[in-house]
Structure formats: structure tokens, C-alpha cells
């Protein structure tokens, strides 16, 4: 082609380009219509006018690295063309998500930070498909999750050292769940092999969640309730003393028992529940009873009696024959690997901490 022809053709082909900068500092240029497909980038361009040159490139959120960015831009480039049929788009999507799980997760995260909802939905669907119906081992293998639960799979009642109402509560939960697990084991013996693999695991999960970590669960639940109430109680001063006191005690116990702080933030967003608890609290004597009262609100009296009985039974047995009980319980959980326990005062607690600190 001669120079003259090239000069004529060039203006028609010339597009506008947008400059994007990823968190690691590298800058890319992208065709404008492709970049505008992302709501976040679109907003940045329209509101702040950045992106038009290399110097004022649009700063992308930290979750977007260059490799993922090029994937996202491929997606945008395909989908922003209006003339494509639904079938074409669907088959593109199907091919697009056939990447390894690590990149798929990064892609989801990046798409979410760019507010590209269709891509978030597409990747979430893909991830859900990968998780749905698989056994835990398969899922761990697919997503490279650490298999770090084995020791905690055992039902582990906490020693009732401080006579804390929370510990009593979680002990109550333990006792209940252990009892139910025993009943289930009796039933298991008459069942078919396949069902055992399938359904029992669900029940077991639930019981070991309630039982095995019901401790920290119950503890944490109470803690979050206290936290909520504290926030709500700014103006109201109801039972503030006992709340603070219990909260501090809670901190000692719970900091040892769990690791996921960010999940707590989720619970703060249940205003209706915390308000309800507030209302209930006013009627109860603050020191000892209110915690149990909260949980009991949703149980009918018959169940409550049964639980009370179980708690007493359990506390009695706990105080008298701790080591024998532990071995008995451990031997009743079949597939769980038996781990020797150090039977000093803080044995169980310490083991929790070593697990968490990994």
C-alpha cells in the first residue's frame, strides 16, 4: 500500500483509547467502547474525566491484576458488540469460564470490584456448579483448600471452668447434639450402604458443627449479640454493666476459640434481631439469666426443660469422669481419626489455638 492510501485509511480506523492502570503500576491502553462496558470504568471516565491519556490513567481496584484484566477485556470486547445472538454469547461464555479454579476466583473477585455484574453472575454460576453435588474431598482438591479440620471433628466439650453462662450454654448444645448423634448411630446400622455415604454426612456435619464447634459457635453467637446490643445501646443504658463485663470475659474465651473476624461484621447487619434481643433483655435479670433467656425465646417450654435436664446431667458427668467420657465419645465417632488428648486443665483450649495459628 502506498503512503497516500495509508494516510486516507488511517483516520477511519482510528478509535479512542482509554488508559488503565493496575495496582502494580503497569499501564495499558484499551479501546474506548470495550472499556466502557465496565460500569466502574465508565463512571470514572464520565465523572472524573481520567483515562484519556497515559498520565492520568484510571486506577483500577487492587483485585485486578494485568493477567486478569486482559481476560476481562476479552470478555468485554466480545460482549459489547451489539449484533451477537444469544446463542453466540452463551457459547462464548461456556468457553470463557474453562480456566483453572484459581484464575476463576480471581476473575470473579476482579469482576466484582469493577461492578461487571454479568461476568460476576457467570463466574459465580460456574463456581456453584463446581461445588454443587461434590464430596468435600473433591471440592478440596478442586479448589486447593487445606484439610485442616480433622482434630476439630471430634465433639469436644469445654471444661466448665469459669461457670460462665456462655460456656454452660454451649455445653448444653454439645450435650444435645451428642445425644442426637448417638441416636443416629443406632439408626445407621439398619441403613443401606449408599445412604450412609450420602445422607448421614449431612446430619453429621450439622451435628458436628453444633457439637464439635458448637462451643466456639455458641460463644461467638453470644459475642455478636453482645456486640450488636452494645452498638444499639448507645442511647439506652439497659444492662450495660453486665454487657460490658460479659463482653470482656467473652473476649478472653473467644479470642482463643476462633479466627474468622471478618464474618462477625456480617452479623452486625441484622438490626431486627438485635432490636428484638434488646427488648427481651430488659425483662431479664442482667447478670446470669439473660444469655440463656435469649436462646430460649425460640424454644418452647418442653424443649427448654429437656435441655435444662441435659445440661445438669452433662455438668455432673463432666465434673466427675472427664477422661473416661472423652474416650467414650471419641470412640463413638467412627471415621474420625483419634488424636491423643493432653488432659490438663487447658488442654482443649490450647489445641484450638495451635490449629488457628496455622
Amino acid at each position: 500500500m502506498s503512503e497516500g492510501e495509508m494516510a486516507i485509511i488511517k483516520p477511519e480506523v482510528m478509535k479512542n483509547f482509554i488508559w488503565l492502570q493496575t495496582a502494580d503500576g503497569s499501564i495499558q491502553e484499551v479501546e474506548e467502547e470495550v472499556a466502557m462496558f465496565c460500569p466502574m470504568i465508565c463512571r470514572e471516565i464520565l465523572q472524573t474525566g481520567t483515562g484519556s491519556s497515559k498520565n492520568c490513567a484510571i486506577a483500577l481496584p487492587p483485585r485486578v491484576n494485568p493477567a486478569i484484566l486482559s481476560l476481562i477485556l476479552d470478555y468485554c470486547r466480545f460482549h459489547q458488540v451489539p449484533g451477537r445472538s444469544n446463542k453466540e454469547r452463551k457459547s462464548f461464555d461456556e468457553r470463557f469460564i474453562r480456566i483453572d479454579t484459581k484464575r476463576l476466583c480471581e476473575l470473579t473477585s476482579a469482576a466484582d470490584s469493577l461492578q461487571l455484574k454479568p461476568l460476576v453472575d457467570l463466574t459465580s454460576r460456574a463456581l456453584a456448579r463446581m461445588i454443587e453435588g461434590k464430596t468435600p474431598e473433591e471440592i478440596r482438591e478442586t479448589f486447593h483448600l487445606p484439610d485442616d479440620l480433622t482434630e476439630e471433628e471430634k465433639l469436644e466439650p469445654l471444661r466448665n471452668t469459669a461457670d460462665d453462662p456462655r460456656i454452660r450454654l454451649l455445653n448444653r448444645l454439645y450435650a444435645r447434639k451428642r445425644k442426637e448423634l448417638k441416636e443416629k448411630e443406632k439408626m445407621k446400622s439398619v441403613e443401606v450402604e449408599e445412604e450412609r455415604v450420602d445422607e448421614r454426612s449431612v446430619d453429621d456435619l450439622l451435628s458436628f458443627i453444633n457439637g464439635g464447634d458448637g462451643g466456639s459457635k455458641g460463644v461467638r453467637a453470644s459475642k455478636h449479640k453482645k456486640k450488636n446490643r452494645r452498638r444499639k445501646d448507645h442511647s439506652k443504658d439497659s444492662s450495660s454493666n453486665s454487657v460490658n463485663k460479659s463482653h470482656r470475659e467473652m473476649d478472653d474465651v473467644s479470642s482463643v476459640c476462633h479466627n474468622e473476624d471478618e464474618s462477625i461484621n456480617v452479623f452486625v447487619t441484622s438490626p431486627s434481631k438485635s432490636v428484638k434481643l434488646q427488648v427481651v433483655d430488659d425483662g431479664f435479670s442482667p447478670k446470669v439469666e439473660f444469655d440463656d433467656g435469649d436462646m430460649d425465646d425460640e424454644l418452647d417450654p418442653a424443649m427448654k426443660e429437656e435441655l435444662d435436664r441435659e445440661v445438669e446431667d452433662f455438668a455432673r458427668r463432666l465434673n466427675s469422669d472427664w477422661p473416661e467420657r472423652m474416650q467414650e465419645i471419641l470412640s463413638s465417632g467412627q471415621e474420625r481419626r483419634l488424636v491423643p488428648i493432653s488432659m490438663n486443665g487447658n488442654g482443649s483450649l490450647r489445641r484450638y489455638t495451635t490449629v488457628e495459628r496455622r
Binding site: 473477585s109 454460576r125 479440620l149 449431612v202 456480617v266 452479623f267 425460640e298
Partner: protein, 413 residues
């Protein structure tokens, strides 16, 4: 361990994405994620949509296990519950259901579905009526008694009652105090003999079961209605809404389906030859027709005449089985009424065709007055059809549309 943690991106995804993923999985898979690793123990407990059905519940274990599982999940759950659906074939009436409904009343539930399949119907606790943010409600197999202080579900958009027992008053208050109601479905409800509907936003109406006296008032947004009466109305059954008023309240309807004895029950009183209005928006009309009842035939013609913009018509013919003798009917009155044009009619379906005179009159009428007709599907009755004779008649009929095809479907054996 270190290399493992850099590969594991899934556990560190933000909450909203995890919620998105969980919402696409069955309840069972969601709960099972708690065994994956320490980080995953409690990721699932704030999932806002709880659905328990036969897909995710062990059907063979029965009612007790189902109740236990639901109790476990609710006990662990934290945060708002936006959707709660339980529709297992194993669920029976029990007091745990009341506990669940009470628990949920503190969690701003928006969608609630309860289905009791086995056992007798469950007495619903009154705390259900305190669900202030309810937008979708499905109840199946319950006994509903409303509290005196009930002021209505102000956000309710969709209501489905199936196999429930309730009084006239309860049904009335449920329906009339929901200003946002867009969809109403009543299937086999016991108790009410009368219902009055004047919801300003109602778009979809489906009523199936014993004939209820339905009174409609100015449902100007109604798009689609489906009425099926499994029993005919008694002659002395109270009727507050006559034929013209009933059909006059649904003028903007686009799709109308009438099945069973509904038309017959409506036509107990005298039927006008012409309705004083037209359904300008009606695109699709489907009805069962008792070809031995002159009144029903006249109503059918009346409806067809009032729908000038009809695009699809389906007629399911019906006759009493006992009569081996064809009743002699004076069809002149019907023929006199069959005068109008269907300028937009494209598709017609006729089922259980026997070849009787009245059926042929209908087909002749439609063929001669539908200039844009594309297909007429005729599906014959299983026996008693003299095919050759009937097809000879059909061949002769004049067709207004040059593209019209008459498709005679093979009888289903």
C-alpha cells in the same frame, strides 16, 4: 501448606460473591461447605435464602429427620432470612413448624412457602400475619385463621393458596388488604363461597376448584386470567355478580383461559346476546365448550364477537358421554349470532372434534371470517369420528385467508 494457601482463592472471596455462589446451590451443598476447612465452617450460616425440598432433603428418612435438619439450620443461622421455602413430600403437621414461623417473624422474611403434603392440614400460627415485609406467600395444606388485628400484608405481590381451609372472612381480608397484589392463585380452597377482587395492581389471576362466586371490580391491569371450575354451581348458589359485570371488569385482559364448568356456572342467569364492550387487548382465548348446551354456545359466540383483536383461539369440545344419540338442536340462533370478523386471528386449535353439526358451524364461521389465518389444528376425539364424512365437509368450507392450513392431527390412541 504455604503453596496451598496461595492457590486457595475461593476462601478469600468477599461475602457478597460467596452469597451469590451460595444462592445458586442447593441447601444441602451449602451446608456441606462447612466441612471443607476451618475457614469454611461458618461461611454458610448467613446465607439468606433457605430452601428445603426433596432435592436437598433425604426423602427416605421421613418427617423427623427433616424437622431435625431444619431445626439445626435455623439454630445456626445468623442474619436476615429473605427466603424460606419448605416443600418436602415428607413434611407433616407438627409444632416445630410453628416454632419456625415464629423464629422467622423476627427475620424480615420476604418470601415464605410452606407445603404440607402428608397428614392433615396444619393450623397456621397467627404470627405468620406479622410478616411485615412479605412479598411472596405460598401456603399448601394449611388451615388459616386470621387474627382480628390483622391489617394486611402491605408489600405482598404474589399469593398462592392451595388446598387450604379458611373462612370467607379470612379470604376476603387476605385479598382486600394487599394493595400491591399482582398475582393471585387459588387452587382447591375449602370454605369460601364468595370472593371479591378489586386489587388495583392485579395482573394474573388463577382460580381452580369448586365454583366460587367471583366478583370482579375494575381490574384494569389484569393481563391473564385462568378460571377452572371442577364442579358446576348449584342452581340456588348465591350469585352477586352477573355475567356482564363479571366480564366487564376485565377489559384489558390479554389472555383468558376458561376450563371445566366455569362457563356453565356463570351462565345460570340469562345471557345477553351481545356484550356492551369489547376486549381490545385480548390476544389469546381458550375455553372448554359443552356443545350440547345452547347457552354455553351462545356465550362462546358472544365472547368471540367481543374480541376483535384475537390472535389465538383454542376450543376444547365437551359432550356428555351417555348420549349415544345426538341431541337435535336448533342452531339457527347460533348461526344468526355468528357474524363478525377476526382481523388478527392466526392460530386456531380445536380438540375432541367429533364432526357434529355445531362443531362444523364453528369451524365454518372462523374460516370464513379470518383473513390472516395461518393454521387451524383439528384434533379428533378418540372414537366415534366418521373421518371421511367430516373431512368432506371441511373441504367445502370457504376460507377467507389464502394461507390457511387445516391440519388434521392423528387421533391419540
Amino acid at each position: 501448606m504455604a503453596s496451598c494457601s496461595t492457590l486457595d482463592m475461593l476462601s478469600n472471596l468477599p461475602e457478597n460473591i460467596l452469597e451469590n455462589i451460595f444462592s445458586r446451590m442447593s441447601m444441602r451443598s451449602v451446608v456441606r461447605t462447612s466441612v471443607l476447612s476451618t475457614k469454611w465452617r461458618y461461611k454458610w450460616i448467613s446465607v439468606p435464602h433457605l430452601t428445603f425440598n426433596d432435592n436437598c432433603m433425604p426423602v427416605s428418612r421421613g418427617h423427623d429427620i427433616l424437622v431435625k435438619i431444619v431445626n439445626h439450620v435455623l439454630l445456626l443461622h445468623r442474619g436476615p432470612v429473605v427466603t424460606f421455602r419448605i416443600a418436602s413430600s415428607q413434611l407433616q403437621t407438627c409444632s416445630d413448624i410453628d416454632s419456625w414461623i415464629l423464629y422467622l417473624s423476627f427475620h424480615s422474611v420476604k418470601e415464605f412457602k410452606l407445603q404440607i403434603s402428608q397428614s392433615k392440614r396444619h393450623n397456621l400460627p397467627q404470627c405468620l400475619f406479622s410478616y411485615g415485609q412479605l412479598t411472596h406467600l405460598i401456603l399448601n395444606g394449611c388451615i388459616i385463621v386470621h387474627p382480628v388485628t390483622f391489617k394486611g400484608f402491605s408489600c405482598l405481590k404474589s399469593l398462592l393458596l392451595e388446598k387450604v381451609t379458611l373462612s370467607n372472612a379470612t379470604l376476603e381480608i387476605l385479598v382486600s388488604t394487599c394493595p400491591q397484589l399482582e398475582r393471585l392463585t387459588l387452587i382447591d380452597i375449602d370454605g369460601p363461597s364468595h370472593i371479591e377482587l378489586n386489587n388495583p395492581k392485579l395482573k394474573f389471576l388463577y382460580i381452580f376448584g369448586n365454583f366460587i362466586d367471583i366478583c370482579l371490580k375494575d381490574l384494569s391491569t389484569l393481563d391473564s386470567a385462568n378460571f377452572c371450575a371442577t364442579n358446576a354451581a348449584h342452581a340456588d348458589q348465591q350469585r352477586t355478580c352477573n355475567f356482564t359485570n363479571f366480564f366487564g371488569s376485565i377489559l384489558s385482559i390479554q389472555k383468558l383461559v376458561i376450563r371445566g364448568c366455569f362457563l356453565q356456572s356463570l351462565a345460570i342467569d340469562d345471557v345477553p346476546r351481545r356484550l356492551p364492550f369489547t376486549y381490545d387487548h385480548m390476544k389469546s382465548l381458550s375455553f372448554t365448550l359443552n356443545e350440547e348446551d345452547m347457552k354455553e354456545i351462545l356465550i362462546a359466540i358472544c365472547l368471540l364477537k367481543s374480541s376483535p383483536n384475537l390472535q389465538e383461539v383454542e376450543i376444547l369440545l365437551w359432550r356428555s358421554k351417555e348420549s349415544a344419540i345426538v341431541p337435535v338442536m336448533d342452531l339457527q340462533e347460533a348461526r344468526d349470532q355468528m357474524k363478525c370478523t377476526f382481523n388478527k386471528l392466526r392460530v386456531v386449535k380445536i380438540s375432541k372434534f367429533l364432526g357434529r353439526e355445531i362443531e362444523l358451524e364453528f369451524i365454518k364461521f372462523i374460516l370464513a371470517n379470518s383473513p390472516v389465518l395461518e393454521t387451524m389444528n383439528i384434533s379428533p376425539a378418540t372414537n366415534g369420528v366418521d373421518e371421511v364424512l367430516m373431512l368432506k365437509e371441511l373441504l367445502r368450507f370457504k376460507r377467507a385467508s389464502p394461507q390457511a392450513e387445516i391440519v388434521y392431527l392423528d387421533p391419540k390412541i
